[in-house]
Symmetry: C2
Subunit: 388 residues, 2 copies
DNA sequence: CGAGTTCGTATGGTCGATGAACAAATGCTA
DNA sequence: TAGCATTTGTTCATCGACCATACGAACTCG
């Protein structure tokens, strides 16, 4: 079933859009000649050419030199032009801003990290300054920007222009803010808005396309990725893995419940349990093999594994990716989590991986979400993209 | 985005299929004239006619009498012909077989309940006898059958012709069986196979299109329905709500874990806790207001609510539907569950409903899944359907 | 009974994908 | 080095699906 059963009719124009998006999605994975694209997608060579030639003419795609070696006329690989359009992913964090500029193939063109204490700032200032920084960054890159997105460390209702930030435990002044309005338009479109963990999940599509992403910090967030797409939930609040209950009468949590995992396995609990002051301190202690640190890590891993067992029983995915503050502890923690999950759910194998991105995951995943949106509506690439 | 980003190209033929499926999906909800269909779907009246006329000619759709009352020429409503094709949904249960024959609009044409002790039977006999019963049922209905599906009380890997039944706690001899092969083809296609709770969820699409379905019995199963579709998971094992953990060191469960909800809230635990022998006995005691029964129900409701809190934090859906053995206890239980969920997760409202179907839910939902498959490939309706 | 309105159908036009044919570019072979 | 096979990229005629328009049909209202 290649067509979704949405309530909208499908005209021929959307057919073209779909096939063009299909080709671009293929090109994102690897540069290929028209003939190879035709073979892998099932379209005709003629169709591939008629779909992609306008993008080549517009400078979005570039043609490489003929490939050498094979028999027959060599194909000319197509790829995203190194001067072509880019997208921007921004992550607003408690103590700073992370942004990255990426080509449509996901290649990062530019990174930016700026320390900034957002704790006491009003929402308008937070997103206004972020927008100014991003615009300056875009100007410096000198390539057309076709979209941008913002990740925030709080649950977000919706992803569109009226996306609303709900309770923000660590940045209370942001509660109720509408980042898309405060940020302003980029490339004449509202910016995409989403939760830091939900969007961060997408940064890991390279290692799997069906997985549960867990992002630890002061709390624990996450994203459910199935078939390469994030499960949005009814109001965009899916993936709140930190509030999965592991002990019905356990420690009370800021969410109103009791026994939520994040009271056992998020960074504050882990540090307190290990008697460490900072994550770096804990990491050193773990590397040194200090028993107290190892025991605390074991308890956190078991707690997290218990919660993930519940999650996997519900969504049944074969991979778990640990990210955020877990990244530096990852090697050892992943094993602990995997052991707990397989102990509790022996019926299905699970692989527990550690994020290869660490802190920039949210910005990278946001960029990925934006390119997904752009590739789903490739017409944007033809209407003379302009810098903001 | 009306087109999914599947890896398949889209030809014009699939465009037609999609729009035809869209129209039939609309007709399934309510009979409508061509003009109304055009208005609601966004297609042209001409397109609607050219899509549906072949089905009218084939006897799949029928034209009603002109509607009276409005101004202008009255439209002639189209609906699924009362002699048109049907689908069959079968539920293999521990102690019997439930089957229903439904029209493509979901209207049940015929029901069958047969008591049969499947406990000691080999898989080949179980599904062979079910197939014979179903074929006899089909012959008696006298309408062309265009598809069939089988629900089983066990986790199932996959839904296609090679769907494999995993561990079946209550019917151990079925473990490893491939029902589609044993059942044989219906309408020249393999039967659809799925878990009883996963498919049963679909029977409730009338009351919501985004919800968590919970089906209680000896264990607790479930289905996550988002956007009118069941979340399948990587191997078809999603929705095992019974094994969500509510007490990390709680009662041990047959799945290998400890503290799974179904050890607290499934029928056996509930009956033992209440000191009742059967579900009917418990129901009487609850209605009579016996304190022991009410207390036990309260404990089960709290346990279930705790597990559902975890589930909702992960998938974020606005509705929970309680079914299976919960149906007769529903009115009171639903309130208990809702209270526990809102107590633990006050940030989002949730509605807890009771299934209106009870035991036949699995068969009904299976029929629904089959019609979904048929409407997604409406060409099946034109190739002279034949009875098996 | 005529005007106004809406429904269903017929027709020409547009757009996208296909399939076949053809020119271009390379490796292989004599 | 020339000729052949093979593969690539492009061109062109055709088909299929939908749309816009126009027109007859059927009904209500004044």
């Amino acid at each position: 079933m290649a067509l979704s059963s949405a309530t909208a009719p499908v005209r021929s124009a959307e057919l073209r859009r779909h096939n063009l998006g299909l080709l671009l999605g293929q090109l994102r994975r690897a540069p290929s000649s028209r003939a190879v694209l035709a073979a892998t997608t099932g379209l005709t060579r003629a169709t591939v050419a008629s779909l992609l030639d306008p993008l080549v003419a517009a400078g979005v795609l570039a043609q490489g030199p003929p490939s050498r070696g094979g028999i027959g006329r060599p194909g000319r690989p197509l790829w995203f032009a190194p001067t072509g359009p880019v997208v921007v992913g921004v992550s607003v964090e408690v103590d700073g801003l992370v942004a990255c500029v990426a080509g449509l193939d996901g290649g990062v063109v530019h990174r930016m990290q700026r320390h900034r204490d957002h704790a006491g700032m009003e929402a308008a200032e937070v997103f206004g300054r972020a927008a100014r920084d991003v615009r300056a960054l875009c100007a410096r890159v000198g390539r057309p920007v076709v979209g941008a997105g913002v990740a925030v460390p709080a649950p977000v209702r919706g992803t569109g222009p009226d996306a609303e930030l709900l309770r923000a435990p660590n940045l209370p002044l942001l509660a109720g803010a509408r980042p898309a309005e405060l940020f302003g338009r980029v490339a004449d479109r509202p910016v995409l808005v989403g939760n830091e963990a939900t969007l961060g999940a997408l940064a890991h599509l390279g290692v799997a396309s069906d997985f549960v992403y867990v992002s630890a910090g002061i709390g624990i967030g996450g994203g459910i990725v199935a078939g390469g797409r994030v499960l949005p939930g009814a109001a965009g609040l899916a993936g709140e893995i930190g509030h999965v209950v592991i002990e019905r009468d356990g420690r009370s949590c800021g969410c109103g419940g009791t026994g939520c995992v994040e009271q056992y396995a998020a960074l504050p609990a882990l540090l307190a349990d290990a008697g460490a002051g900072t994550a770096a301190e804990l990491r050193v202690a773990v590397r040194a093999g200090e028993p107290a640190a190892l025991a605390a890590l074991g308890r956190a891993g078991a707690a997290l594994g218990t919660a993930l067992t519940s999650v996997l029983h519900v969504v049944d995915l074969p991979v778990v990716v640990l990210g955020g503050s877990y990244t530096p502890l990852g090697d050892r923690l992943a094993g602990l989590v995997r052991d707990e999950i397989t102990r509790r759910r022996p019926s299905a194998a699970v692989e527990v991986l550690v994020s290869g991105h660490g802190r920039p995951a949210a910005a990278l995943g946001t960029a990925r979400a934006v390119t997904d949106r752009v590739l789903a509506e490739p017409d944007l690439l033809l209407t003379a993209p302009h810098t903001p």
